[in-house]
């Protein structure tokens, strides 16, 4: 009698038959991400928006800052697809070039905030004690004022707002949230065995933080950084909308909407203000979808209920 060797099938759904070995956490996360329809739609939308903003010169012949006093507030025509604004500038060109500023502000402000957040958050979560309470009280203070109120107050201190200055100010106002999130994951990571192990073999603090802790906290960091881009784009739009953001003539989606503060434009020239608003909405929606998709991909438990 022959006994067949029982081959126990691997019950792990993420086990791949072809390669015969388990995948790395990043590959697993990527696979879960690709299964999320909304997240994939978000990625596709973002790619389209980014490609359009980079190829703006191919999509329009008009200069977004070129005023033309003879062509003020023209309705849409074959020459000006979305008409012209109050200074005779082509709205379609402003929309395309404006996306560059909005996206650049969104991504660079996120990046700046991320750097501050990672440095302060890891200092706070890794060393605890005095450094931690100092940094935490500072976050409490910044959070004691609404983002917009603080940003506006700081904005009023400078004479001429440039894109760089603008990004710096909103990053300096919005670092506490990310700092707290990173601190939170560091506080739990530092108690784990692998950190203890690394300490035991004499790894330096820098090495422990960068080689062991940050890669393990990458999930919340990436998710919140992604969502932060959306927050930054809305912040730019809001500040430019009330005339305290990126100044004219540089087009951004926010300062295009600024024209709608005039009741006449609002009432009669919908093609001036609805398109940039829709662009902001679609971009933010896409980024939020990606962010949610990343959250579910990095932390499968969050989606199980």
């Amino acid at each position: 009698m022959e006994i067949e060797t029982l081959k126990t099938p691997n019950t792990n759904p993420e086990y791949s038959e072809q390669e015969g070995k388990s995948k790395s956490p990043y590959q697993l996360a990527l696979r879960r991400f690709m299964k999320n329809k909304l997240a994939v739609i978000g990625v596709i939308t973002m790619v389209i928006i980014i490609v359009m903003s980079f190829s703006a010169p191919l999509l329009t012949d008009h200069n977004p800052t070129q005023t033309n006093m003879l062509m003020i507030e023209q309705p849409p025509s074959s020459e000006h697809i979305l008409g012209t604004d109050g200074s005779g500038r082509d709205n379609w060109a402003r929309l395309l070039y404006g996306s560059r500023v909005s996206l650049v502000v969104g991504f660079s402000a996120m990046f700046f905030t991320l750097i501050i957040g990672v440095i302060l958050g890891s200092l706070s979560g890794y060393y605890k004690g005095f450094v931690d309470s100092l940094i935490m009280r500072a976050t409490d203070l910044v959070l004691a004022l609404p983002f917009l109120v603080l940003a506006l107050t700081v904005m009023s201190l400078v004479e001429n707002i440039t894109v760089t200055l603008f990004v710096t100010i909103i990053a300096l106002v919005s670092w506490p949230t990310l700092t707290r999130i990173i601190r939170g994951s560091f506080l739990s990571l530092r108690e784990q065995e692998f950190v203890l192990g690394a300490k035991a073999i004499g790894a330096s603090d820098m090495r422990i933080v960068f080689r062991h802790m940050i890669p393990n906290a990458i999930g919340p960091i990436v998710v919140n950084a992604t969502l932060m881009v959306a927050i930054m784009i809305i912040a730019e739009a809001g500040l430019s909308f009330i005339g305290m953001g990126i100044p004219q003539p540089q087009p951004t989606w926010g300062n295009m909407l600024n024209e709608a503060l005039s009741v006449r434009i609002l009432r009669h020239h919908w093609y001036t203000w609805i398109p940039p608003g829709v662009c902001i909405l679609v971009t933010v929606l896409a980024i939020n979808f990606i962010g949610d998709g990343l959250r579910d991909a990095f932390d499968p438990k969050s989606n199980q209920r």
Partner: protein, 320 residues
């Protein structure tokens, strides 16, 4: 718990102090002194210096700070630079209640929409309405409130004529109950605009909280004892599911104040938001200082109340 509350209050006091220092420092960092812009350029240099001395602008900064905070706690924030030297407190008082009412309308809208829909979504997950609510939640969080406000004015006020597009009252001829109705009518659109993002947030929270509680053991026990669904919901589920929502409301001040700055601008609504924005544009620092301090105090008090409330209603939380 009492220890925690006392410690929490003790932390609150230095926070207040630090907040006031920051507000003062920001205003001090402003280019030029506010006094120069008020003055006729033909005035003698000597007279100018004398006035400056008399106003205490030459005193050491800590002395200036002490003087400012000393009168601020008595409700005296000095005089506005732009509004012909009117006391800042008068300007704030004239608009304070407009913003409070607007905030209340927004909060009311948030609660009556978010909580019932959140509960329904949790009890009927993956139903049509749940999907619709999720979609609404996504859009509500993604749409900038000013764009929503502009769309609301364009479609509901201009195109359909259902709501007045701006202001707080139509005219002075109405009075009594009619005036109240008229005011409410003016506040519906700005209120919804202001409350939209919070509505979407609360709805999501409510849904996941109720789902969480419904899946817990004690709910199963209650059902096994033969309790009706209605009683399970009202006697067991909501009590626990509402805790995070109410805590969230403590942090609502900041959201409402920040949102009010832009929403009030869209609707030309005479509240603290527009006052603040005008002061920022005109660099009217006495008003900016007063308002940032007031906003900050409101938010700190809100956070304090939320923390205290949380420690009282949820004995599961342990503080050490």
């Amino acid at each position: 718990m009492y220890k925690y509350i006392i410690r929490r209050i003790l932390v609150f006091i230095p926070m207040l102090f630090a907040l006031s220092v920051i507000v003062f420092a920001l205003a001090k960092a402003a280019p030029g002194d506010p006094f120069t812009t008020m003055l006729d350029p033909n005035v003698d240099r000597e007279v100018f210096e004398e006035r400056k001395e008399a106003l205490g602008l030459n005193d050491p900064v800590p002395v200036q700070y002490a003087r400012w905070i000393g009168s601020a706690v008595q409700g005296d924030f000095g005089e506005s630079i732009v509004y012909n030297g009117r006391p800042v407190m008068d300007l704030i008082q004239a608009r304070f209640w407009n913003t409070i009412y607007l905030g209340l309308v927004a909060l009311f809208f948030t609660i009556i929409v978010a909580i019932p829909i959140g509960i329904y979504s949790a009890r009927n997950p993956y139903s049509m309405l749940d999907y619709a609510a999720t979609g609404f939640g996504f859009i509500g969080l993604a749409i900038p409130n000013f764009f929503f406000g502009l769309l609301a004015i364009y479609f509901l006020s201009i195109k359909l004529g259902w709501f007045p597009p701006q202001g707080t009252v139509s005219g002075s001829e109405v009075s009594g109950f009619q005036e109240f109705v008229d005011r409410m009518h003016h506040m519906i659109l700005p209120g919804i605009t202001l409350g939209l993002a919070s509505t979407a947030t609360y709805m999501r929270y409510m849904r996941s909280e109720v789902l969480d509680v419904l899946g817990s053991d004690y709910i199963r026990t209650a059902k096994a004892k033969g309790m009706t669904d209605h009683n399970v919901l009202y006697k067991h589920t909501l009590r626990n599911a509402l805790i995070p929502i109410i805590t969230l409301m403590g942090f609502e001040f900041g959201v409402l104040v920040g949102g009010a700055v832009i929403t009030e601008r869209v609707f030309n609504y005479p509240g603290l938001g527009t006052l603040f924005l005008d002061a920022i544009i005109n660099r009217d620092y006495p008003i900016v200082m007063a308002l940032t301090l007031i906003f900050g105090v409101f938010i700190l008090v809100g956070n304090l109340l939320a923390d205290i409330f949380y420690s009282i209603v949820d004995p599961r939380i342990r503080y050490d």
